[in-house]
């Protein structure tokens, strides 16, 4: 019996080794090689002493943070009201629908909307405000990034709200809590799991967005993803590119730990 069990697990273990463990080890190994392939810790030294690299890291974290906050702000209420509507599946479908369209197509569509002769500027002109520079600004970059990430935040929050036992809410009411108290003490803590996975699903990819930084941000916003692309494709300095990759992986681990469930605090929500 146990033998067949191990037999069944072989494909999964191979998969994990080949496509998860091995690539990560290769990246870590590469990050300790210099441009000629010799062993060095210089890449890390260079990274942590270069003001450009550190500023870039700070910028990436800042933008990813702003994008995540914006997405959360929009998604939580959406998911909340969604879980209380009649045609849930239909609405959910409409929210997921944009993810069926290729990211690049959406980016190009936004170029059309934001450009000097685009839809928004035509409207602003018509309204007497006059044309504005929208494309290539921080605002437009954050807007488009948030737009793209929203479904990935709504879904986990929606699921968490759906799974909640409605009798808990009735109980809270019966015990005299008003709507706000019910939300704050019952609904919010119980949906925190959804929020956590949503934040992870949005923050982590936002750290390494790079097509959008060029198409919408006009390369005026530089993220770590962009730097990795440059090191691999242009300078061919795979060591330095891998070093940034390792730092991205580590920061993602940190995010997971920070937002992950805190099991030690038993009965965490004291509500």
């Amino acid at each position: 019996m146990t033998k067949t069990k191990t037999m069944y697990s072989i494909p999964y273990i191979l998969w994990l080794l080949l496509f998860v463990v091995a690539p990560v080890l290769l990246i870590v190994y590469q990050s300790f090689t210099d441009i000629d392939g010799a062993f060095t810790v210089g890449n890390y030294g260079k990274y942590f002493t270069s003001s450009t690299a550190l500023r870039m890291t700070f910028n990436s974290l800042l933008y990813a943070g702003i994008i995540t906050a914006a997405v959360l702000l929009i998604s939580y209420p959406t998911a909340y009201f969604l879980s209380r509507t009649v045609h849930k599946q239909l609405w959910l479908m409409l929210i997921i629908l944009p993810t069926w369209i290729n990211l690049l197509l959406k980016a190009y569509a936004f170029i059309g909307i934001f450009s000097v002769n685009g839809t928004i500027n035509n409207f602003l002109e018509f309204a007497g405000i006059g044309r504005q520079q929208i494309l290539f600004t921080d605002t437009s970059f954050i807007f488009v990034a948030a737009y793209i990430e929203i479904p990935f935040m709504i879904l986990p929050i929606f699921n968490a709200l759906e799974e909640m036992n409605p009798s808990l809410i009735s109980a809270s009411r019966d015990l005299g809590a008003n709507t706000w108290q019910t939300f704050q003490r019952v609904i919010l803590p119980l949906s925190m799991n959804g929020v956590r996975s949503g934040v992870q699903a949005v923050f982590i990819p936002s750290l390494s967005l790079f097509m959008l930084t060029r198409l919408i941000g006009g390369n005026r916003v530089i993220t770590l993803g962009k730097a990795i692309e440059q090191h691999f494709m242009v300078t061919q300095n795979w060591g330095m590119g891998s070093t940034i990759g390792v730092i991205l992986i580590l920061s993602m681990v940190a995010i997971m730990l920070l937002t992950g469930e805190k099991k030690r605090r038993k009965g965490g929500n004291r509500a």
Binding site: T52, R55, N59, N117, G218, N219, T235, Q236, N237
Partner: protein, 357 residues
């Protein structure tokens, strides 16, 4: 659960059908292995009519793949995998590929029509005696401006990009060599400089530019300039010629103090499996009529002097694209700087991009 099963079976069935039809389409088009010629070229960099003509004349079937940067092409060919028979890198990349021994030396007994190429573009430093490569197109880096927004008199030199009046209206090409090269050229220095002091000076000069820079993009410059999103851009002559065709307010200038001249040459990489087909295609492109047709379609400057005779006069007399010799003499080819200086150039460029408006 049943639904899931149906979904999976459906997906697998669709994959099978697509696979079989694509195989059948390939064989019905005559792709049988031996007679396929795989060309790896820049996007939109050949008149598609010519490929059809070549297939009809020679019976080879062309499989045409594209790349968007020399570096991407280099990486893909180095990794192997696809049997590319021909590719068209720029000169500095040819140097690098020669050094990595990725190219096959050309056998001139199999090439007809090499005498059609202007001798000015043969035997250049990056490939002495053209041992590995044959010129395909050449061009320059310059400034394109829209006369609706700026006065052409004020946009003749690289230094003009720093002018106050261009605040937030310049688009730069997203390349370290191009941007640092123009900063070096603007001070009369060589764009291949390996002098740390000069590079530091160029970096300081570039630090004053971001206020004027609207965006640092690549191919999109074409679309933005035609749609008048920006008034000035730094771009290549070939791209510029296409923009000029689409918007009559645009003009292209090669700064006389110096700029980059680039060559895209045809090479045969070692991945080739159809070397006869590769030579047949080279010979086909050397025929003046074909070269002229290609030059008219793409708008870059052709090195084929026989073909120039076949082009309409307004094309070959246009100094924007066929500049006089005194301008050509100030132009420089990008040399392969070696890994160390490529790294330094890129660090300066990254630093430049980090500047906030």
């Amino acid at each position: 659960m049943r639904n899931l099963k149906v979904l999976f079976v459906g997906i697998i069935a669709i994959i099978c059908v697509l696979f079989v039809t694509s195989r059948q389409m390939r064989t019905s088009q005559g792709h049988t292995g031996d007679n396929t010629l795989t060309i790896y070229n820049w996007g939109d960099y050949i008149d598609p009519e010519l490929i059809k003509k070549f297939e009809q004349e020679t019976g080879y079937k062309v499989s045409y793949e594209t790349f968007d940067s020399n570096e991407a092409m280099f990486t893909k060919i180095q990794q192997g995998g696809t049997a590319y028979d021909l590719t068209i890198p720029s000169e500095y990349m040819i140097q690098k590929m020669m050094a990595e021994e990725m190219l096959i030396p050309l056998d001139y007994t199999k090439i007809k029509g090499i005498e059609n190429i202007d001798s000015r573009f043969m035997d250049l430093d990056f490939d002495p005696e053209n041992k590995y490569s044959i010129p395909y197109f050449w061009g320059t880096l310059g400034i394109i401006y829209n006369d609706k927004f700026v006065d052409g008199e004020n946009i003749q030199h690289w230094d003009d990009l720093w002018k106050e009046e261009l605040r937030d209206s310049v688009m730069l090409f997203d390349g370290a060599r191009e941007v640092i090269g123009l900063a070096l050229n603007s001070d009369g220095e060589s764009l291949n400089s390996k002098d740390d002091e000069l590079l530091a000076q160029a970096a300081r000069k570039l630090a004053k530019l971001p206020d004027n820079v609207k965006a640092i993009v690549a191919d999109e410059i074409k679309m933005y300039m035609i749609n008048e999103e920006a008034s000035v851009a730094v771009t290549f002559s070939g791209e510029a010629s296409e923009m000029l065709d689409n918007n009559e307010h645009l003009h292209y200038v090669i700064p006389s103090e110096g700029s980059n001249v680039w060559f895209d040459n045809i090479v045969i990489p070692k991945t080739t499996r159809n070397i006869d087909g590769a030579y047949a295609f080279i010979n086909f492109l050397l025929v003046p009529e074909n070269a002229a047709q290609n030059a008219e379609y793409i708008g870059y400057s052709t090195p084929n002097k026989e073909a120039m005779g076949l082009l309409p006069e307004e094309i070959i007399e246009d100094e924007q694209f066929y500049p006089p010799d005194e301008v050509i003499n100030h132009l420089e080819v990008y040399e392969d700087l070696g890994v160390e200086y490529i790294g330094i150039y890129n660090d300066i460029f990254l630093e430049f991009k980090m500047h906030r408006r």
